[in-house]
């Protein structure tokens, strides 16, 4: 069961902060449970996979696209939800039944995305504890992830430093190799040149001798 908790401000009661918890198994398309809490009372309800299909068809939307919209509205980050409005009100005819609805607002028009029927929870304290408890656990989980990623980061930084050092060294080795080769080449070449000079000297003498003999 995956969960997402976020703050909402119902259109009919914008000054009150409600905490919206959405819980689902595989994805929202397979149905989900909504829990609303205002810190004192709590309401909860579930919408099934079939009902979601029906809502998608009512809206003449492709189911996948509809589910995608639901994801954005209900469980993605706050910035995005600013494109979505929520409302929460008691049913006018049936007592103890509440409606939680969500709509997408485009520029100057908004259209209803869907709604879930909620019932009041008899023991809100448990719901409140669950909400806080889930948050604490999730925070602890994120901390662990954070620590892991931080460690990974440190390891990568060290690796990067090592690699950088290796690269520096490799450049240095190349330069040293070049220097070393040149100095060896120069020694060998100069040996040969000295040989050539001496041979030229001898040739000159030999030719001089030959000339005098003639």
């Amino acid at each position: 069961m995956e969960k997402k908790i976020s703050r909402i401000y119902p259109l009919s009661d914008p000054k009150t902060t409600y905490f919206l918890q959405v819980a689902w198994t595989t994805d929202l398309g397979s149905g989900f449970t909504v829990t609303l809490c205002n810190g004192k009372s709590a309401w909860t309800g579930t919408i099934s996979e079939v009902e979601i299909s029906k809502e998608a068809s009512d809206m003449e939307m492709e189911r996948e696209k509809y589910v995608d919209e639901l994801q954005k509205a209900l469980i993605l980050d706050t910035e995005l939800t600013s494109k979505y409005n929520f409302d929460f009100c008691e049913d006018k005819e049936i007592s103890e039944i509440y409606h939680f609805s969500y709509e997408k607002n485009l520029k100057d028009v908004s259209f209803k995305l869907g709604s879930v029927k909620l019932k009041k929870v008899s023991d809100p304290v448990e719901v409140i504890k669950e909400l806080i408890g889930y948050c604490l656990d999730y925070t602890a989980e994120l901390h662990v992830k954070n620590e892991y990623v931080q460690k990974e980061n440190k390891r990568l930084l060290n690796n990067w430093d090592d690699m950088h050092e290796l690269l520096d060294k490799s450049v240095q080795v190349k330069e040293e190799l070049e220097q070393e080769l040149y100095s060896k080449f120069i020694c060998v070449l100069n040996e040969k040149k000295s040989k050539i000079r001496s041979l030229q000297e001898k040739l000159k003498e030999a030719r001089e001798a030959a000339r005098q003999n003639r």
Partner: protein, 39 residues
């Protein structure tokens, strides 16, 4: 001219390295660089 050419051919090999005068790092680098360019 031909005579100059001949004179140089006597003094330097086809890579421009002198047959007789000792070389050093700068000259040898120069020769190798020329070889590279010619190649």
């Amino acid at each position: 001219c031909p005579s100059t050419k001949q004179h140089f051919a006597l003094e330097y090999d086809c890579y421009g390295d002198s047959y007789c005068s000792d070389t050093d790092l700068v000259q040898l680098r120069d020769v190798f660089q020329r070889m590279h360019n010619n190649k």
